[in-house]
């Protein structure tokens, strides 16, 4: 056992003493989680940008623009008409609203009024909902103003304009009469949805574990090149102990990366993940599976650079496929089925169930069985390959 622990300790300490390794294990997860996971969903500064072209240029059209500017969901910029195409093309605006000439007159006389909207051609399906929400916001303002004018009866245009603007100021009194309560289901159990940011931490944890394990297993190739590997093999210690020492070292590196991601999420981004026996079991199986995959790849290449190159490719491609970068339901159904072939998909599924606070044998049985299968097949294949290397 002392041989096993000595090899594992030498391996892990050697890795951690290298400042470049620490940089990659800490800085890259912070950058990725921040840029792709946390910032896009941050509450501040995440309003939808829209542009407004004012062809009416009246008191009411100005009041309308001011009202939109105060709405927390959008960020309004007023532009001339000839800049509309540029705003849409350059991803500056999700849509352009054109206030037509005669807008004020039409509203004061309660005539049917159309606002021209030009949505960006780059809007995806989910952002179409934004148009509905914006229309509700506009109608709330307009109905508040029109009811005030209708209530006050016929007066001259100036008075009606003032009345409309005062009335529209009451728009905040209009409230939605239907709200929704969200829940998710899994195998007959109703659960609370994931909290913001949890998906990112879980996804990037699986990806960076794979990066780190590939980096660690690649060092065997360096040891082969420098002759250390041959000297260790020539030592009197039994080969299975040497193998166990290396495998324990790789396993520890995977776990160290997970603990770093967990700590970064908790301390830096205030994103909590539970830490319990289920998490330990899931991550352990995932790390074993990843070690196995990395060891198998190390048998196919000659240099640590080749190994890391293929590792980066495998880690990024399988993480994208497995839903580490985005929710998996963004992907078409056939691709979600292809994702069953990568361990990230099952690890994320298990960690998501644990994160929503409802781990149980029935809910986690399948992900853990499949992960155990991945671990058994790849780890045994990798260890055998290492044994005969």
């Amino acid at each position: 056992m002392r041989v096993v622990l000595a090899i594992a300790k030498r391996f892990v300490l050697g890795l951690l003493k290298d400042k470049a390794n620490l940089l990659y294990m800490v800085l890259m997860p912070i950058v990725f989680t921040g840029l792709f996971g946390v910032l896009p969903g941050a509450s501040q500064d995440s309003t939808v940008p829209i542009s407004v072209v004012d062809d009416d240029r009246t008191a009411i059209s100005k009041a309308f623009i001011q009202y939109l500017s105060q709405d927390g969901a959008v960020q309004v910029s007023q532009i001339p008409e000839d800049r509309a195409a540029r705003a849409l093309r350059n991803w500056e605006s999700a849509l352009v609203i054109t206030i037509p000439a005669g807008f004020q007159e039409s509203l004061l006389n309660n005539h049917p009024t159309d606002l021209k909207i030009t949505p960006s051609p780059n809007q995806g399906g989910s952002t179409v909902a934004f148009e509905h929400s914006l229309l509700d916001t506009v109608q709330t303002w307009e109905v508040a103003g029109v009811t005030e004018v209708l209530q006050s009866g016929g007066r001259n245009t100036n008075q009606a304009t003032s009345t409309f603007i005062v009335g529209a100021g009451h728009a905040k009194q209009i409230h939605s009469l239907v709200t929704t309560s969200r829940s998710v289901r899994r195998d007959g159990t109703t659960l609370a949805p994931l909290k913001p940011g949890q998906q990112a931490i879980i996804g990037f944890a699986t990806m960076f574990i794979m990066f780190s394990v590939f980096g660690a297993t690649g060092s065997i190739l360096e040891e082969k090149r420098s002759g250390t590997w041959s000297r260790i093999k020539a030592s009197p210690a039994p080969k299975y102990r040497l193998l166990a020492g290396y495998c324990l070292g790789f396993f520890c590196v995977g776990w160290i990366q997970f603990i770093m991601m967990y700590t970064i999420g908790r301390l830096l981004f205030r994103i909590d993940l539970p830490m319990n026996g289920w998490v330990v079991l899931t991550i352990s199986l995932y790390v074993l599976a990843t070690c196995g995959i990395a060891l198998c790849v190390s048998g196919l290449v000659n240099t640590s650079e080749q190994h890391m190159g293929i590792g980066t490719f495998v880690a990024i491609a399988t993480s994208m496929l497995g839903g580490a970068y985005w929710p998996i339901d963004y992907e078409p159904v056939w691709m979600q089925h292809v994702a069953w072939l990568v361990p990230q998909d099952w690890t994320m599924e298990a960690l998501q169930v644990i994160a929503v606070g409802a781990p149980s044998t029935s809910l986690l049985m399948w992900p853990l069985i499949v992960l155990a299968g991945f671990a058994a097949v790849f780890f045994v294949a990798g260890a055998v390959q290492l044994r005969y290397a």
């Binding site: 896009p40 195409a85 606002l115 506009v138 239907v178 998710v184 339901d329």
Partner: protein, 375 residues
Amino acid sequence: MIQIALQMVRVNLLKLIRDRRALFFMIVMPIVLTSILSFALTSVFGGKGVPPVTVGIYNEDKGPLGAEVRAMIAESSPSIQVVNPANAEQGKEQLDTGFTDVFVDIPEDFTSQISSDTPTRVSVTSTLSTENKREIVESIINSYGRQTGIQTYAGSQLGTNSAQVNPVRFAVEAPGLRPITSGSYYAVGMMVMFLLMTAFNYAVIMVDERNSDRYRRFLASPASRQALCFGYWMSSSVILLLQGVALLLCARYILGIELGPWYQMLLLTLSYSVALAGVTVLFGTFVRSRKVMDGFNGVGVQVAAALGGSIVPLYAFPQTLRAAGHILPNGLALNGLLNSISGISMSGLFVPVVTLLTIGIGLGLVSGTRYGRTE
């Protein structure tokens, strides 16, 4: 000087052609990633409407408003299909078995609560893998809630005259621009990112060479320092241009992705290659330590690629980060390429092309004056 540069281009090209591993990472890897991203994020980009959603709605409401919500969900998009489970248990079962993506349970007192101007709550359930679809359904129900609130307010203010109010409507107009699909976005996004990686790899090679005997032999040769630097600049430009063109051709003819007009794409790829060649010789000239260069090559390239919008589209970032993305050469090139795809005149590309060429030539000149003198 030109002859030396051309010799260096020839040597570097021959080295590249013989290095199958390098070719794999320069061509195969970006194409595989482009195809994954292209298929995976189809629903997030333009050109596609609402993704197909099957919604199970159990309406327990005794009044007419529950049926109104159901009708609104069913009619909001042809992609949304509504099924009617016999009870809530069956609705949840349909969700568990994957027959539906989302289950909506409209409560018994829905109409009576709304009629008494009291907010009511509708339960919307999804699975862990259909949360995106649940948000679409939620947005429709929330819109119904706001519309009901508006009607109730008008009714309370005007009584029976509330029907006189004509709500504003949106008249949707097509923008006259070609939509950027996930395929076209990531074809150019990955091209821009992998060219950046290649540029930094060549900077690493330059730093390695400066720490080797080869560099001293170079300096001892009759070739001027400027000629050697120009040779590196030229080699990087040519290799980056060839890589960029190869990636765009693969995207167009292997993956069948629609891109912009060929002359605009070529011009932008050329200017971007020149800009990156400037970056290569700048780092290759001024950075002395391999470790520092490895740091730039690893973390720096990833951060620059991310800020430039190659991995997640810039519009998903907060405003402050978007500005940073537009300053970087890769962000500038990506933006120009996207503009070309969505349809832009040649004059519209003047600013990015001139800026990129200026960066490339300027950095090349600065490096040329210092190459060989920084030891």
